[in-house]
Symmetry: C2
Subunit: 301 residues, 2 copies
């Protein structure tokens, strides 16, 4: 990927970002067929070391001969400029690699706009020929969960920090994970944390194929094993047909979300400022005022 | 507030929580007039010590003779059960106080459902006679920002942790703050962090009345000053009329949000599963498929 193409991709992404509810994707010369790339959603609490892990993962994918696109939707990510200087230097080192494209998306966009935007961004990066796409979010809000759920695999990154015992892990994070990475295995108590997690996974579902990988992003320990597992996960899902199945479900959710955004934008524009002001200044309770507005809009057709 | 009323309030809140887009508020005997309570939104990064600070603040409000309602929308909050054991014990100590009501809200609800839910919850707690309401969120997603923006004052809690230099503070957090609390002042480098923050605030706007308060939630240092300032902030806003002005703007945003939710629910229910499936299975790009669905819904009226 030459720097000219990268610049063009960057501009297209800015366009996607500005048009929250989205425009049609542009025509691109000789696009890679959509869906060629393996999309990995990476989430987990702040401080688990997601960005450093992604950095390692990207290098390992490069060693395997892949090109890599990184989309960061995490405001605390060094990819988006939210971290300490040392991290940023290491990240820009990665950015110099011709086969790596890094982009952050702003966390704006009410009404699912950001999730729609992240999906469009991933499509564009895919069409430009990157074949491993990593999307980073911080696993807190519903939007962030929507984003990682739109990937082919969701990796939850945890670290055995003080107070973060396995029981305290948000149930939501357990439910969306396809793969766990337990980072910072050099911390005291890490082995215990890992075995507690494995026990918890086994107790939830004895048939579960959910794996937890111990890694150390600071020196690269365990990254190769994790990468190989991700590769085999993708190959297996493709062969078994579960990849197609998953993508069909994602497509349904995506169309619904887009349609809801379009619907709101279309109807809302028919409301005048005066009409809105009149309702706000009425003494009606908020819910009744809202219902009155909706009545107006729906009758207008 | 006797335990019977608390139980009733709790049940009403569960109802609000289940009906994401909300039902009309119930009739309550002798309600406190809506808007009597001072609502304080508390946000900031994970690990800044928001919950411990809120605990201290609540006790101080109690000392001043107020009753206190705490609504936690932060999944990592000990109020919602997401933290270490020691914290939970301290919190339940607070919960034994008759003049304190604590409630957590689940972080579900796409399409602004959670923000609507938090506003309804605050209204209920207000009507039940609590006159200081603290709403805790973790400052990441748009929903969380919406929630604190619906309060009378927004307090951003920061801690001088490693790597968290003032430049790295999310611009969004700076913009929504009415008051800063710099917690963990016993950490090395805390004084520097505080003075950097004050400089940054002065540089952004030399006329700014935005104050940063140094506190130490672990031993209570600075909490009285912070509480007194919050009290005077509320009194001043009430007297100057800025409170009414702010609440009118919030009411407009709230009605808009509610109306959008109602609109979606009303129109979406007219779509059959078959219609949706047909569009998903069409080979159309997602955006075109969504546009086709919207066309159908709008024509149906």
């Amino acid at each position: 990927m030459d720097s000219k193409s990268k610049l063009y991709l960057s501009r297209l992404l800015s366009r996607v970002e500005r048009l929250e509810t989205g425009a049609a994707l542009p025509e691109i010369e000789n696009p890679q067929p959509l869906g060629s790339a393996f999309r990995i959603g990476v989430t987990g609490p702040v401080g688990a070391g997601k960005s450093t892990l992604i950095n390692r993962l990207a290098r390992e994918f490069r060693n395997l001969g892949h090109t890599v696109g990184i989309i960061a939707v995490d405001p605390s990510s060094p990819f988006t400029g939210g971290a300490v200087l040392g991290d940023r230097v290491r990240m820009s080192d990665l950015a110099l690699d011709e086969g790596v494209f890094i982009r952050s998306l702003a966390t704006r966009g009410a009404f699912g706009g950001l999730a729609a935007c992240a999906e469009d961004a991933a499509d564009l990066v895919d069409m430009f020929g990157y074949n491993r796409i990593i999307i980073e979010t911080v696993g807190v809000g519903q939007t962030e969960v929507d984003i990682v759920e739109a990937c082919d695999a969701t990796m939850v990154v945890l670290a055995p920090e003080s107070g973060d015992d396995v029981q305290a892990i948000k149930a939501g994070l357990m439910e969306i994970a396809d793969i766990f990475a337990v980072n910072k295995m050099d911390i005291r108590g890490a082995d215990r944390f890992l075995s507690d997690l494995e026990t918890a996974l086994a107790m939830r579902d004895p048939e579960s194929r959910l794996r937890a990988f111990p890694v150390q992003s600071n020196n690269g320990t365990g990254i190769r094993q994790l990468t190989n597992y991700l590769e085999s996960y993708f190959d297996d899902a493709r062969r078994a047909g579960t990849l197609t199945q998953r993508r069909t479900g994602q497509r349904a959710r995506r169309i619904k979300r887009l349609a809801k955004n379009l619907l709101i934008n279309r109807l809302w524009s028919r409301l005048s400022v005066e009409e809105l002001t009149a309702v706000v200044e009425s003494g009606l309770p908020a819910r009744d005022a809202a219902a009155a507005l909706v009545e107006k809009l729906v009758q207008r057709g």
